[in-house]
Amino acid sequence: MVRLYYRDSLWSLIAGPTIWAAHFLFCYISAAIFCAKSADPTADFQILRIVIGVATVVALIGIAIAGTQAVDDWRRALNAEWAADEDSLQIRRRFVGRAAFLLSGFSAVATVYVGMTVLFVSSCR
């Protein structure tokens, strides 16, 4: 299984949102440069569309990997007895896995939101 981060680290929480941020920045920067530098932005818009589409797919794959890993950490810890606030390493792992999973899900939704822009807007003006 592909792992993006060590099991016991806080990276798990921010892996999904960080990919969202990188994707967002990429979309913003590529659109800004494209609109400023393209000789005919209207004719070439399809290029930007493809670039952002590919970036969105890549970002979603990354988030999916982070999310799968989070689910894996969460599920492994699920064997530990269910208790809301028990003090054990397993419960801590379960919490981090679950929160990381939720954050990955949210990041995926936000990434789709941002990527969808180029389906509806096709102009630099």
Partner: protein, 843 residues
């Protein structure tokens, strides 16, 4: 009972009394005039909170004057220029001197108690931050009494703010006075992040920390990446005003839009920097008055972290009307609507907590409920203005004024007052009046809605914000009058609360301990308060330890946990690991000192003198500030303990000194340098921004000699970095002389690098006053050289420490932290020259 056990219990009693005496000696605040040298989080937190509340009252009065002016059409209560100063100062003070500082203040006050620590990691740094805040704040606020307040709006758009002739001294006061406070905010962020990550009581794993601490962690991270772009913008704007470098002057290749980008990259996260600590207070209050654990803990963590990230992708929604490509607007519109998801998640979690609990009615809960109601309305109008086509109609009208006040007053003022009522017994041992609270709440709640709800309609009817008056008959008259009546009602409610806070409470009895029957650690506090914070540092096994174990308070009081004593009469607390809070160090934190105040006074003097372009006094004050800082560091940090380890109780012995990634200083350096890197990235952003808007940017290609100089500069800075790294290694290995020689060589190389980097643009004949291109090149080079210069000072400091025997192979905090600094300095030192040298050749 036998005689023997009686004697031993008497002994126990005696021991406990002795321990308390020693703790008291170590932790008591200094008396009489020396009181102002206090650095403990409870004193500094209280000063900070009261100062921020005074600024709130000041800015509120400014708002009332504005509302009086707008009550009727064609009013002439204030002049147009004074009106400009009023709204600029109102916005700036509320944002920079109240909203952000109050939440830092509350965090400084609460955080150590919430996580079971005795103090914050860097008490003197908090004190320094407070004094900076006080000096800078009084300076900025005072300007209006001389008719010299800033008048360009709280976001200071150039060209309105960049022409010294038009804007007068006010813009300089804003730029320098507030930059000074922004630096204090970053200091507080570093303090709070390290506090949450490393200062939690043993056993308090990351899933057990109070939600307030989660929010504080997220907000600290946000401050770290949001404030530096503004500081970078402030530097550019002040340099344009003082030295005529045309960063924002369109005639000479600059762009006013660059300021808007830099300002709002700060300004939008700022909204959440203000809002999240407000919700954090609600997250503490709601479970207490529902008498059950919060519902959806991990969902709320999702909301906090998710909002923190998304808030950085919203800044352009303040710039929808500036003519950016519509596809770009689309990205920001998408992110702006997406941020409603995590925001709503936490609100549902609170509602669920109340639903599943047994609600106890109280004033804090009333304010919390009012806050949510108001905030939800503000959030909904926020989704409206997040949609670009709607925003094009509403932009710069009173609709936006209404929206932002709903967000800020619902998201932060009401929660703060809820927090004041909730935590007043925690701070003073006495409760506020239930009756006054209710009167205050209803006046404020009704007054607020009467004042701001009509503004939506005034705005939709076309009234622009920031106009000092308006003619009658446009349909705005009675709406404005109603708003003014509402504003004064709101102020009356607030006055009731201020009276309740300041009324003498000498005869009122102390309230009982843990008066709200809360479950979190801060309510361990004894009433009246003892200066040591917690009697012994507990082992935490539950999110609500006071509910989990009925005798928890007793165990802490009897000193049955860690550090129940201060044998050496030193202030001590525990450092634990990030994820699972395993004890790793017994840290001695510094006690009272006037040094933070003195350093802040000199730093303030330097900034204030610079405002008036008095450069010799600036230099003099700067040197004094530097000297007091070095004295402070030399005498107060990286102290070598008299023994290796200390018995902290319960059979645990912990080291008193740790360096590298195990020390809190290393973490502070790392976090500070992340913020510094964010400022550097903002300058790089500026460079590329110019490239996207100008076909003739960059100017002429770099000349051969300049290229050579840049090359030398990069090679030398990397050499200095490698030698610093080697020096650290050699020192640790015991090769002290080699380590010292490496430091000297690193200093020589760094100086050579600085000289070569300064020579390069000079040889190229770049004049920063002619065009934005040479100006941005010079700024990048100067930024880099300044960082190399700071690195040289640090290396010199390490050399001196080594020679003085304060830096040894075993005790090497200083060189570890300096080596960490140099990693960042080397990245900066290599990247910036490469960019300015090679980019003009590449395009």
């Amino acid at each position: 009972m036998t005689d023997k056990t009686k004697v031993s219990s008497q002994d126990q009693e005696e021991l406990r009394r002795k321990q308390e005496e020693r703790l008291l000696t170590a932790w008591s605040a200094p008396k009489s005039w020396r009181y102002w040298s206090a650095v403990n989080n409870s004193e500094v937190g209280q000063w900070y909170t009261l100062t921020a509340l005074s600024f709130l009252i000041f800015a509120g009065v400014l708002a009332l004057i504005m509302r009086a002016q707008l009550a009727v059409p064609d009013n002439d209560l204030v002049s147009p220029d004074l009106y400009n100063q009023l709204f600029t100062l109102h916005g700036s003070v509320m944002m920079f001197l109240f909203a952000v500082p109050i939440l830092e203040a509350v965090a400084i006050l609460l955080l150590p108690e919430l996580v079971g620590a005795r103090d914050l990691p860097f008490p003197r740094l908090s004190a320094f931050g407070f004094w900076c805040f006080l000096i800078g704040g009084v300076f900025v606020c005072g300007s209006i009494f001389f008719g010299a307040a800033p008048s360009g709006g709280w976001f200071m758009y150039p060209p309105l703010s960049s022409d010294p002739a038009q804007s007068g001294i006010g813009a300089d006061i804003w730029l320098l006075g507030l930059s000074f406070i922004e630096i204090a905010s970053i200091a507080a962020a570093v303090e709070l992040i390290v506090g949450v990550l490393k200062f939690r009581a043993p056993g308090m794993r990351i899933n057990l920390i109070p939600l307030y601490a989660w929010y504080t962690l997220v907000v600290g991270g946000m401050i770290l990446f949001a404030f530096p772009p503004l500081i970078a913008g402030d530097i550019l704007l002040e340099v344009e005003r003082a030295f005529d470098w045309p960063f924002f002057d369109a005639d000479r290749g600059g762009s006013p839009l660059l300021w808007q980008h830099l300002f709002w990259i700060f300004g939008h996260p700022e909204v959440y920097i203000i809002f999240l600590p407000g919700v954090a207070l609600i997250a503490m209050i709601v479970p207490t008055f529902a008498q059950r654990p919060v519902v959806g803990y991990s969902w709320i963590v999702l909301a906090a972290v998710g909002t923190g990230f998304l808030s950085f992708g919203l800044w352009v929604h303040h710039m929808y009307t500036t003519g950016l490509p519509s596809v770009s607007l689309g990205f920001f519109s998408a992110a702006s609507t997406a941020v409603a998801i995590p925001t709503a998640v936490q609100i549902f979690a609170f509602i669920a907590t109340v639903m599943f609990g047994r609600l106890v009615r109280s004033v804090p809960m009333l304010f919390a409920a009012g806050a949510l109601a108001i905030f939800v309305l503000g959030g909904l109008s926020g989704v409206m203005v997040a949609l670009a086509p709607f925003d094009w109609q509403a932009h710069d009208t009173y609709f936006v004024v209404a929206h932002l006040h709903y967000v800020l007053i619902g998201g932060m003022l009401f929660p703060v007052i809820a927090g004041v009522y909730y935590y007043f017994p925690f701070v003073t041992g006495k409760a506020l009046s239930e009756k006054m609270g209710r009167i205050g709440f209803w006046l404020m709640f009704i007054g607020f809605n009467v004042a701001f709800l009509p503004m939506h309609f005034t705005g939709l009817r076309g009234m622009p914000r920031r106009v000092y008056t308006y003619p009658e008959g446009l349909g705005w008259d009675w709406l404005n009058l109603i708003s003014t009546l509402g504003a004064f009602t709101l102020a009356a409610g607030f006055a009731a609360i201020v009276i309740d806070i300041f009324r003498p409470k000498g005869k009122q009895p102390y309230c009982q301990r843990n008066p709200w029957n809360a479950g979190t650690l801060e309510w361990l506090e004894e009433i009246p308060d003892q200066p040591w914070g917690v009697r012994s540092i507990p082992i935490v096994q539950h999110r609500y330890p006071l509910w989990d174990d009925p005798d928890f308070i007793g165990k802490v009081d009897r000193g049955e946990f860690y550090l129940p004593d201060a044998e050496e009469l030193r202030r001590e607390t525990m450092v634990t690991s990030v994820l699972d809070a395993e004890p790793i160090q017994c840290l001695r934190v510094p006690g009272p000192s006037f040094l933070p105040m003195i350093t802040a006074v000199f730093t303030g003097a330097a900034f204030i003198a610079a405002t008036f372009h008095l450069y010799w006094p600036t230099l003099a004050a700067g040197i004094l500030a530097f000297a007091s800082l070095i004295f402070w560091l030399w005498t107060g940090t990286a102290e070598i303990p008299e023994k290796e380890e200390k018995d902290v109780g319960l059979g645990l012995s912990l080291p008193l000194y740790r360096s590298g990634p195990h020390s809190v200083g290393w973490w502070a350096m790392f976090i500070t340098m992340l913020g510094d890197a964010a400022a550097f990235a903002s300058l790089i952003f500026a460079y590329f921004f110019y490239w996207t808007i100008h076909s003739d940017f960059p100017g002429s290609p770099t000349g051969a000699w300049a290229l050579f100089c840049y090359g030398i500069g990069i090679a030398a800075v990397l050499g200095a970095w490698a030698l610093t790294f080697a020096s650290r290694r050699w020192n640790a290995a015991g090769a002290v002389s080699a380590s010292r020689l490496a430091i000297i060589a690193a200093i020589v190389l760094a100086l050579a690098s600085g000289a070569a980097l300064l020579a390069a643009p000079y040889i190229d004949g770049l004049d920063p006053r002619l065009h934005a291109y040479p100006a941005i090149v010079w700024i990048l080079v100067l930024w880099t050289v300044a960082h190399i210069g700071i690195g040289v000072v640090m290396l010199g400091y390490c050399l001196a420490r080594s020679l003085a025997g304060r830096l040894t192979p075993r005790y090497d905090i200083d060189i570890c932290n300096v080596a960490l600094y140099w990693h960042f300095a080397a990245i900066n030192g290599a990247l910036a020259p490469m960019l300015v040298a090679l980019f003009p050749l590449a395009v």
